[in-house]
Symmetry: D2
Subunit: 361 residues, 4 copies
């Protein structure tokens, strides 16, 4: 299902080479001013062609808001935004009709939909479908910011090249501000040159490379989230795995934390004035599924872009034979870069859902 | 929310030291024979006191089935099982009323429920609440097995000690059978002695240690799962983060796979007779959220048990002062061991949900 | 599905002649004191054998609360109550295995569940399953009363004999109090003798009779409910049709109101101090799906009890022949009487759901 | 919430005088051919200006399908249709900003959304929002027809003038075909002249009149629907009350059936060849919430259109005083006529949901 949410429902539609894509957001609070410039800024961060590490496919990607806003203020009725598909070159994908691209959804989508799914450009499975998600997140983050909640992510690694990590106990507001408005987000900006070089190297080889994203949510009050299946981790992961190429998520110390003993990993509580805080934040701001008031921190594993131009082994579903495939078309050699604002956006939508769960919205 | 599922709904209830715990399963197919011995075998794998690496708290944990079964066959009506709480020693937890245990849900639950939640033994946040989840999974796996789908997990690491990994392309049926019925699941059984030694060492120090679990689902047909938010990864993670102490999940190569380039990571398609298979399975049996027919493989990060008997820094919420805490009571020094059947169980429930989504149940 | 609700989820389980029946309520606010005497009073209103117009089957129907309450106060965790089945005489229903009772769910349940459903006493379709619904409602109405919201229903007709109707603009508090605690609820108590006589007449003939229930909800603030499918009417009807034998629902003037012209039917607004009220209340307190602040009023159509002892035509599903059936067992000749507290209870649960939707709970 | 459905989700958006309205359908089966002419025919039945008994406001109401269709065949991805708002005259509604129209959602919407909702033309509460519902139904009914399921409704009354009723046991296919394609649906077409005269009389008086709609669903197999809250009645009513002005629903004999005794009302089973049928169909094709294989029959109560041009008492929310209001603008004197295809459409969507619940879709 391309619908998500229990309290704040989003419904995403569209196929890469169809008439248009978009999103309906149902359950937004009324009376929230939405800055259209800020929306476009976020859309632009994800848009192709904005950064040379990304695909040259360039699109206006300007959303048209059909409903739910009056005088740039939410009415409480569902907000629908539509983005037209304009710059499509379907012939690039002609050969995937019978020969599924390795590590793509071509084959599984074919089986799931009995061959009826639109496979041009990946159809509904295309990374382009993250545009409406970024739109939804751009709306959500304005509502969150008004309540002191902010979200920022960065490229924490490309291949073996790593950025610094967030200090999980204290994340500077100016860092959050910078990361949440840039297109090649790094804590340690010195890493930009080597990372771009690594990506460019893979592009020239007709290859691609994976990476990781680290995301922080600051200002979230303690006590948000519900036990068992309504926890912050459940809600975040259920939306974040909707981003293509995400193959893992960890909160706080995550997998590395499993090497620690309890006395090393436990986050001691201390009063900071009247506020209870933890001295460390190995749990990533979440205890028992519920926010602790510390920054919420998670990392995503992004697999290498499956679309590479090197020849690959595949099958011909029509001929029922083995064959090879060389993917044409324009593709990101490292999808991590553009996935950064998408991760922030999904997290923003999830935070609205969680706040509504505890009557804070 | 302690309810989960859209097609097959489970609703888990209970607190560690209350009258009882249990689960309602709504949406099971009618006419499925349920072997009660097999249920008890699975319940026993998770039960405390069964393995010396776990807490000595021993409970009958025998579920009473109140509804939904007639002649040991599902009626199609909701199946409710209740497990009584019998062996509770609430005085062990007396001091946590005002002093939250670090890295536990005591503090966040207190804020979430304004101090009204039952904190004896962790209340509704207790690991004991995984017993009804194992019950639900034990029902689910019998229904799955009848359709050729089997689930097995193992302790893939305790601290820095690692077990072998599954061969993601071909998992022997006898290995699956062995792992899914044991209490200290390892592929490489030679690792049992050193792992138990490491756990025992932490116990003697009043400490604990984390670890990871690897889980495989075999026999899942291709084409199961839905795009975006209805994918196998979304559905699995949304239930698996309901298991206490889970702080990360990765599918296929996960975080390690981000180091690879596309030509290394992509899984080539090949015909195996009439069946399309992949030569490698770096994607963990999931492409675009939909099963590929290859084994579904995921790993979980389990943080070190937060309940340790060493003295720790915390706060006194009543006095509003900093203080220290030494947790009494009986606790697992490594929760990974008992979490193995819980992970399998949650995965089994998720598979029923996914099969029903595509009309295969 | 026997689960209901988006914000406050209830999951009802059990079969008439199984081990027990019950309900899980997930999403209750924490910190609500629950008076157990008041619970039993409500359970008693629905219980068989309490009123001579009802079936003589007598059961303790005492719910055991397994979770979610500590010191008689909600913890915020799911509240589960179990009611044991004790007084069952399955042999009374022996013949329905192959011969479905006309107007019952025997046949449709058989088809739906491929013959695996428990048909003893109606199984999961039994009117007995309204006991957990009354329990849930009894919890809900205490939470509502604390917020000034009260619910009362009465027998508005048995066959052609009618009670007076509520004054939809002003419902006296003492009438609400009286109706919500009685077992044969009438506004005009003079109607009790003729109504009981009519019911008794049908009992003696081995027959049954239908009727209607009118229900009022007072104290509901204006602005509760959401547009289109989240309206008060949608939410109420989606739960009320879960009561067996309900075949119709109308709000305000309902079907009679269709005879009116707009100028007769429209409810004029007037200020009453600072409060906006309507002069009439033909809309039953709901405009555009949202509460207007006036009493919410609905009526239910209850078909005649299908279990009658007169011989009836049916089929033998085993022999695949036509045959006749005389139903044995103990049955209510007019289910309307006991359905009154069930209707109130379902409405109470629905009101909690609606209040939570607008952050008022 | 303007979203509906568990298996087949629809999400409706738009405001009467905003940029556009539309619907996203998520969960449609792939591979279904959709005849665009048939879609337009259904849209046309509801469109204003097509029938002189309706409002003269004329709109193209031509939906643009943005996604989910390829070569006029469903792809399985969400189908989104957008209808532009072109013919809006907002000044007609200028005075309702402060003075809520009696029996409309103006006042309750104002309270619900704290004054931020778009009230021009009723905003999201406008009857115009039924256009996307008719679109969704028009898609659904083509999928249903391919499985032998058909839906037809008629004006069963306008004020006190009544049409004949369906024979609930046998509904001729040609009648279903005729009704499901006409704009003034009557079984007894002789009633058209007097009904139109009655409507015209109310129009000339600046008044309106209510009525009822009867709807039949034929070809539905037995065994569809789930117990308690997943029954056919629950599902149908939860969507049908989303149609503005619907104030009541009854299935089978409904309220009239409450006058009957059990021996009169019970529907005897008989074999018709190998098929089990009922001799009568007082239960409207639904037993215990599950379809019996007989026609499903329900009736809706439609209140008189609240928009009348006669002067009415209301309040001025800005001045906080009582005042009067004369509504300008173009309105249907009897909304029943155009609500007929809307009722059919909502029923069609509900049938898809129910079929999917039992794996028949």
């Amino acid at each position: 299902m391309s619908s998500w949410g229990n309290y704040l429902k989003i419904s995403i539609f569209g196929e890469s080479h169809g008439g248009g894509i978009g999103v309906v957001m149902d359950g937004l609070p009324a009376g929230e001013f939405i800055d259209r410039e800020a929306l476009l800024l976020q859309m632009g961060r994800r848009a192709p062609g904005k950064d040379k590490a990304a695909t040259p496919r360039s699109e206006a990607d300007t959303p048209e808001i059909l409903s739910g806003l009056l005088n740039d203020t939410t009415t409480g009725a569902p907000l629908c935004a539509v983005i037209r598909n304009t710059n499509t070159r379907s012939q690039d994908y002609g050969n995937v009709l019978s020969c599924p691209r390795p590590s793509h959804a071509d084959y599984t989508g074919f089986v799931r939909y009995h061959g009826f799914n639109d496979i041009r450009g990946g159809g509904h499975f295309s990374g382009r479908l993250t545009a409406p998600l970024v739109f939804a997140g751009a709306v959500a983050r304005q509502i969150l910011a008004r309540r002191g909640i902010r979200i920022a992510a960065h490229i924490s690694s490309v291949g073996a090249l790593t950025d610094s990590r967030f200090d999980p106990v204290q994340i500077p507001a100016d860092l959050v501000e910078r990361l949440s408005t840039t297109t090649f987000g790094l804590i340690d900006t010195d890493k930009e040159i080597p990372m771009r070089a690594l990506i460019e190297e893979h592009r020239q080889q007709g290859d691609s490379i994976g990476g990781t994203i680290e995301c922080a949510i600051t200002g979230m009050p303690a006590g948000v989230g519900s036990p068992m299946f309504g926890g912050v981790e459940n809600v975040l992961s259920s939306i974040l795995f909707g981003i293509p190429a995400v193959k893992g998520i960890e909160f706080g110390t995550g997998f590395e934390g499993t090497l620690l003993s309890g006395h090393e990993h436990n986050d001691a509580f201390r009063y900071d004035g009247d506020t209870v805080r933890t001295v460390t934040n190995h749990n990533g701001g979440i205890l028992g599924g519920i926010s602790s008031g510390m920054p919420i921190i998670f990392r995503l594993a992004i697999k290498p872009t499956p679309s590479i131009s090197q020849e690959q082994d595949t099958v011909d579903l029509t001929q029922k034979t083995n064959t090879t495939l060389a993917i044409k078309g324009r593709h990101d050699p490292c999808i991590v870069v553009r996935a950064v604002p998408v991760a922030e956006s999904a997290a923003a939508v999830a935070m609205l859902e969680l706040l509504k769960d505890v009557n804070m919205l």
